[in-house]
Symmetry: C2
Subunit: 466 residues, 2 copies
């Protein structure tokens, strides 16, 4: 246990044995820091852990308060134990089903992994787009630089200071979203049969792409809070050729690898000549005090291909993403040129303009606040209305929850009846190529929290009970 | 020889033996049609052939006139005879070199294959872009339909009437330009080792993509006027698994397959179970009376994957392309989803809006006129100033010329010295994986014709002479 975990456990005991009661104000961060002789940062982290466990809640300008859920909180799911049998003749139909209802506005879309469009700064983006048509020569009609729009790359490089990165404009290449970056990375690093280590569960798009390209997917044990551990990476050495990690707020688990684990994993992989593709598209949507650093921050050998996008924070429809591919830059550029010539300069320039001043940070602050509040609403409602034996993740960022039901439930079979009631969720089986997670599901809490949404969630709980 | 070719040959003899003299007005289309008992269309085609050979020139509202170049016209290059040895350890460095100087505005860019941005309707496109941000919900920030923007698909389908196509909105999927469409088609139809038949020479991007994906490229004999013949396709049956043709104004040859050849090739390939990827991105830039029909027009089995874009006519930087993949739609959609989730709705909607009224046709008319005039300027200047023994293509559309020099010239070696004089061209060796075309080069005439440009072209001729 690290210092902040010990501190959190200590306070949790105080709450459980009644020394701290529901409604009590928690001691201030400064006070705890002095009394326990630890840094303020450690106290903040401990409080965040407590908050994620619904033991305490922050109130703006007033500090943290012990909240009513401490005793009836739901357990967090266990770490996964994927068996890595040959891929199950998977029910890909499931993914198709979920996607077919993707744009249906009648349905309460708990199945997606993107915040609702109402969270996006549409008016400001429109302004940036108009300005982009002016700042680009010939209104952006010409082919762009193959490496991608310079203004965007410059600002992503600048923005990397938020995680103590020191990227330069020339280290980055733009892509049409993060999946396009991953696709280029796969093309550069793999051939059919290449063995790739991934989290389990993990975003189904990654699994389907890997499967489609003939890669051999090795699913790694993954903890819902801490992600993949260095020990599990160590055990996978010799069994994988490349590795892909969603290190910050893995979709669907919400797990975030602790900094020391990231450092160790990067070291282990590099020492064994294994490139690491890091899908860091949720990193800016953190609920804690600081942006978690990506593995890229610890990349000394240029073997981490760091991928990001604004699809989860600003505008998925703009298709603006990027990659810092380290020593693989030359190969990536070649592939980008061969497969798509260049990117869309206009939307890249627009996002570059958006990032240029402090608009992005202001927008993110409000997005994070909204999403964090939503996550707490969701967890509370699930605790009150979902079947007994339900377990639920405690994401410290992102916008999805991972829900584990009783072992005998098959969420794949429940999808159609629930959809017929106007609610869609993502069955757990989508997030693995193995025969597991049938009793799990993923929920998107990136929707405006309304009375209606609460009712739908309660209705979902009741449907799951029957 | 078809009827119009016979007719053209007949008139050519009349010009050569002096019966028709420089400056004479050619008989009207109606007159010839009556006198020879052929359709007006046949006469128009014959005149176009004569025009492409610089025997006659049109004057607006006045008809066709015999022109001064008839006797000193340069020969057209011979049909290619690729040997299909194992790929030559190619000088890929050549392509890199050409691309490195791509955005340098100091250089006279005769190496590109895209019209100059000054030909694009920038102000009107800007208006469409602004409108797109209004017509799309939430300013186009949300993920688009996986198959692509509906307005764009609807208008491409409508536009297919120009080649007697009857595509429906649901037959089309949008892509980020035509190369992205080809990339998806390759992914759907091939695996390493798949044998693909292509024209020789052909756009280097296609060759590099195929090579990169481990395909076995079979280069087919290609005529600079008529493209690949049915006989050569017949001879390739059993040696190729798929086929890719730039049927209308092949880049770099400018060849255009006659309609009857297209019909026969489609039939031959379909009968042998060979899918045809048709790269038809130049088809709208024709100099004749009508848009040449693509092979897709003769596709009864759904085995032609028709690819197009607005990159050569409106805005390469928008990255808007499409594909009508016939019976491979399901596979293509899956791949598009896996590799890039969806496209950029904003630029697709903007182009959809642009196509909605007759703006596009008006723009194309002026673009075609400009490009045709440029091609005649270029051919005349080349005839006057390039070395003896020079041969040059007579494109009936598009914006590139294929120039063949004396056998002992190596254009790859000439690239650097010519570039140092501020002129770039595309060495012929880029357009093949075989050891051929060292004495050829491709020139882009899609630049505003100015005195300065004429001087640069004359300078290029002189450099080639030394």
């Amino acid at each position: 246990m690290t210092l902040y975990q010990e501190l959190a456990a200590n306070f949790e005991r105080l709450i459980q044995n009644g020394s701290l009661r529901v409604g009590d104000r928690m001691p201030s961060i400064r006070t705890v820091s002095k009394e326990y002789g630890v840094s303020k940062n450690t106290v903040i982290q401990a409080y965040l852990v407590l908050e994620s466990r619904s033991c305490i809640v922050p109130r703006p300008q007033a500090g943290f308060f012990v909240c009513g859920k401490a005793n009836q909180r739901l357990p967090v799911p266990d770490a996964s134990m994927p068996q890595n049998h040959p891929p199950d003749p998977a029910d890909d139909g499931l993914i198709g089903k979920v996607f077919r209802n993707f744009v249906n506005k009648e349905i309460t879309q708990l199945s997606l992994s993107v915040p609702d469009e109402s969270f996006f700064p549409v008016a400001r983006l429109n302004k940036c787009l108009h300005k982009a048509a002016q700042t680009l020569s010939f209104g952006g009609t010409g082919y762009d630089d193959i490496q991608g729009n310079v203004r965007l790359r410059k600002n992503i490089a600048k923005w990397s200071f938020t995680w103590s990165g020191n990227l330069a404009t020339r280290d980055l290449v733009t892509t049409s979203g993060a999946m396009h970056a991953i696709s280029l990375a796969f093309m550069a690093l793999t051939k059919p049969g290449t063995r790739i280590g991934v989290e389990s569960p993990v975003y189904f798009g990654i699994l389907q792409l890997a499967k489609n390209m003939g890669l051999q997917v090795v699913e790694l044990p993954t903890h819902p809070v801490f992600g993949v551990s260095p020990d599990d990476i160590k055990a996978a050495i010799g069994k994988i050729d490349i590795c892909l990690l969603v290190s910050n707020f893995n979709n669907p688990l919400g797990s975030c690898m602790p900094e020391e684990n990231k450092r160790e994993v990067v070291r282990l992989l590099a020492r064994n000549g294994i490139p690491l593709i890091e899908d860091d598209l949720y990193g800016d949507v953190y609920f804690g005090a600081n942006r978690p650093r990506p593995c890229k921050a610890f990349d000394e050998e240029g073997m981490v291909l760091w991928c990001g996008s604004v699809s989860k924070t600003l505008a998925p429809g703009y298709r603006v993403g990027w990659m810092a591919p380290g020593k693989y830059m030359k190969d990536i550029l070649k592939l980008k040129l061969f497969h798509s010539v260049s990117g869309t300069a206009l939307t890249q320039e627009a996002i570059g303009l958006f990032l240029e001043n402090d608009r992005y940070e202001r927008h993110l602050r409000s997005l994070r606040k909204n999403l964090h509040e939503n996550s707490l609403h969701f967890i509370r409602t699930i605790a009150d209305h979902f079947p007994e034996q339900t377990k639920v993740s405690r994401p410290q960022g992102g916008f999805v929850l991972w829900v584990e039901l009783a072992k005998n439930v098959d969420t794949g079979k429940l999808f159609d009846p629930v959809l017929s009631r106007g609610i869609s969720f993502a069955p757990g089986r989508m997030f693995t190529l193995q025969n597991q997670f049938h009793h799990c599901l993923r929920l998107n809490y990136g929707l405006p929290w309304t009375e209606r949404l609460e009712k739908r969630l309660i209705e979902l709980g009741q449907l799951l009970k029957n």
